[in-house]
Symmetry: D2
Subunit: 312 residues, 4 copies
Amino acid sequence: MKIKLATIGVGNNTSALVQGLALYRATGSAVGIRRPEIAGLGVTDVEIVAAFAMSEAKVGADLSEAVLMPPNNFRLDVALEPSGVTVTRGLSTVDEVDRIAAALGGAEVVLYSAPSGRPEIARAYAEAALRAGAAFVNTTADAVARDPELLRRFTEAGLPLLGDDLTSQFGASAVHATLLRLLEERGVTLTSSYQVNLGGTEDFRNLVEHGESKKKSKMNALGANAGKVAVAPLGYMPHLGSRKILHLNIEAQGWGGAEIAMDLKLKVHDPAGAAGVNIDLVRLAAAAKREGRGGYPGEVADLMKSPPGTAI
Amino acid sequence: MKIKLATIGVGNNTSALVQGLALYRATGSAVGIRRPEIAGLGVTDVEIVAAFAMSEAKVGADLSEAVLMPPNNFRLDVALEPSGVTVTRGLSTVDEVDRIAAALGGAEVVLYSAPSGRPEIARAYAEAALRAGAAFVNTTADAVARDPELLRRFTEAGLPLLGDDLTSQFGASAVHATLLRLLEERGVTLTSSYQVNLGGTEDFRNLVEHGESKKKSKMNALGANAGKVAVAPLGYMPHLGSRKILHLNIEAQGWGGAEIAMDLKLKVHDPAGAAGVNIDLVRLAAAAKREGRGGYPGEVADLMKSPPGTAI
Amino acid sequence: MKIKLATIGVGNNTSALVQGLALYRATGSAVGIRRPEIAGLGVTDVEIVAAFAMSEAKVGADLSEAVLMPPNNFRLDVALEPSGVTVTRGLSTVDEVDRIAAALGGAEVVLYSAPSGRPEIARAYAEAALRAGAAFVNTTADAVARDPELLRRFTEAGLPLLGDDLTSQFGASAVHATLLRLLEERGVTLTSSYQVNLGGTEDFRNLVEHGESKKKSKMNALGANAGKVAVAPLGYMPHLGSRKILHLNIEAQGWGGAEIAMDLKLKVHDPAGAAGVNIDLVRLAAAAKREGRGGYPGEVADLMKSPPGTAI
Amino acid sequence: MKIKLATIGVGNNTSALVQGLALYRATGSAVGIRRPEIAGLGVTDVEIVAAFAMSEAKVGADLSEAVLMPPNNFRLDVALEPSGVTVTRGLSTVDEVDRIAAALGGAEVVLYSAPSGRPEIARAYAEAALRAGAAFVNTTADAVARDPELLRRFTEAGLPLLGDDLTSQFGASAVHATLLRLLEERGVTLTSSYQVNLGGTEDFRNLVEHGESKKKSKMNALGANAGKVAVAPLGYMPHLGSRKILHLNIEAQGWGGAEIAMDLKLKVHDPAGAAGVNIDLVRLAAAAKREGRGGYPGEVADLMKSPPGTAI
């Protein structure tokens, strides 16, 4: 049975999800899909039934049109048919929780993909999901699954609560952590490391402006080596569009203190990296919900930078 | 009890081993050591009792002087005391096996670190080890442990035979394979990849001249992705000295076919990368021998590019 | 008045010229054009009247079709109309000079863009141009303009002879030489430098196989610093298609010997780099011819790696 | 005759000057020197006669000791003898101009190398130089030579005034501008470009905190292309010490719109880059003064990012 999904936020990440679903339906391609099946659910078993946004232009538009409106700038090689889903006005104060709950359209899963940096708003949407009996997936760095009281209530209600801060399908954190782990496995001693992230999306601009919580999340992802690792101020560069660029340096010492140096440049499209994980989170959330497992499902740990228990 | 070691070849790799042992003894440092203990044996429990070389200058010299003679060009930050070990003339025809066996000085382990590309010579040294009752470690790409008949004889004699072609402690193959594995884990589809290796040692010059067997070894290490991966001709550049440089590119596709690109430059000192693994191979060989386990010890699989059973 | 041009070779470079001319005619764009006018001649004033190739498939085909046939793999974003020019069989022995001369179709300029490495063939085409009264442009590394006797005969005939070995509009040599010159201007002392070139065209494969003359040409381009500069073996990688990749490293010392290091990766499409210069060479040749200036016109010096007088 | 020099600021840049002078005197080396002679004056003809600093530790110390005190972290391979110059307390309010003028020790040239971002202080030192009859060199981004009234008074007094904001001997601006100029010369159309600068000195930290005026200076240096060029927020990373790192990207289009891409990483020691230019500015200032040429000497234009007339 298809998964009914409501998306909060109609930015580039939601756009990448919508466009990717259309492309996979049209072509049957399996390129770039991490898990073809989760609990019997394929990628194209996800169906969007409601979407929420704040932009005047997007509210009232068909979702297929809204996902391509500026400032969204991510494009896949696919044409979108009308979706039949009209974008609903999102929540601007916590008093509107009931309105949102009523507008979720019977969704099993609510995917929170709004800009980071407004934790009260994020938790209000989670509240709406709870009232409507839906699982909630927080992809932002705001503390939602890390809020012990909220997690307790989802657990008691038998509803899954997934979060916080998705690890991109393939991005700076994964590559950096993997290389640092390789050093460690090989007995190479880290001297210093830095990463510089550049991006051109609105989400990225938002990160630059609310940089601190994001930086903390990145450090959680880097683990024990954090003391020797510098994460430079993020650089917002509009001309990059939906691309994100990482410059990574690692200096280390091998046998007898011999020098080892590594420089890496990574180019990704951040919205695709988010959608490639969101498609798994949504299916994991639906599967847990259908099995009656409330709270934080352990199997998503690898997909989250700041799971319950990490620093807020 | 200390491990008595004979080294075949007094090139940069042996030099890195000798210098590193001196440095760790002098400083007590643990920088760059992969496994502080193997079966109770520390890094400084390895003692060199015999060494073999072909160069007129090195034969007859104290090992501490010989390791610093040209064309060797690897240097650690340590001064070497006289070792008391005089370098013996190595084997130039297979008729000299008995002379070598007699000169091994009671070594438990024979470490073969001569230039790649002369498989008969490599196997003659293994024969000498067998006759002298020593374990044998082949660090070159020549087929020794992959020779089924030789492996059978070591197994029957209760003597360990480790090989072939050591995986550097930290080098091109490890980084490349790790990043390709990360792509795979994340469901990112590889489009193409290349690596270009540049180096300045005599060992490297030798590789360039006997490039084919080395290239095959590299491909064994890259596994299933080999079809999409190009390894460029190796470039010998004397000015690099003991440094080795890798230029690595990976092009791939994520969610919806979105482009992912990675460029990496890695600088290492190859002799240190070899010594950092040789110190483990020697201890693993000694431990297996002391436990009476002949043949190929499975626990070294990660340290070898072309273990028994892979293509010759 | 339009320039009548004959092209020898219907490979990627000729394809880039043909496609570029079509694109500029169709769009009026000026992107990527170095000199909008040369002696009153615009880019689109060049008209191809004859073309020669060796491939069975290309001979007899319309030039617009032939330029897109494999192994050609360079593509611009333009559709080609039929050209009306049928590709003629090229010269395979020096006895065919008269046949070629007769088939040049009244061309004012003959552009030699065949694979490097066959100097006799190159000079035979130059001979044909001479007999037909056309200017000759040698874009390959073969010695044509560097042949003093040939140059003397062109000069006496009042026909321009341009060569040898075009400097790409923007490529490895330009970037490398520019950075080395900057070091020198700034009083920074070069320690060492290397370049590694990778490519995927047939022309590039040909270079790899006839690497020596090319390497000499590169060294001519690098000038006085050549002693400290290493050019690695070229790497042919079919998956690169028409792209060419340069990895460049420069190590130097500034004030007080302080270390300076630079690493650069450059990606270009080689056929576009050739066409962007050929369009200037053809106009310079035509202008010199129309002014009655025979021999080597000094104003092309910047566009040639190995002008008359440099080593053969 | 030797040049008597007073330095304002005893940070890394002054340290690099002092250490470099000692090294060149001791070794006779010419490595990394841009202009061996200026108006007959060699590098070692510069003699420091007075130095000013604000740090409690440095004031009262011998200059040779003071230049090595933290947070200074730049080191050349040379030992420093006592200089005989005791560091004087610098100016903290503009009322102290006369005290400074009196303490200049008969200097012909005053080199202003204090942190950027305090234009009133910078101009007060210039005032002191004017009163003492010395030439003034402003190496910071603060507007001094760009102050028309101050420039007029130096001109009338027959005293040279050099500034503002030195262009490093070899750094981000030079490399970036050179590559952009090469694109232009070759008719390649710039699409976009970015530079990211990382550093670890106190000067660099100060720049990060007073980033705006510096960024303007950088843009002045990049000229007409500034609209397509993004300069990312500067990243202060203490572990870099005196190193400065540039990540540079250029995207462009060649013939027919074909893509060209360049990525460059540059590592320099910023203090050496400053000292290598300061040694020329000091000699140019002395030469102009000795020739009685007051005001801004045109011959320093290449050494200044924001000469008189550029935006403040």
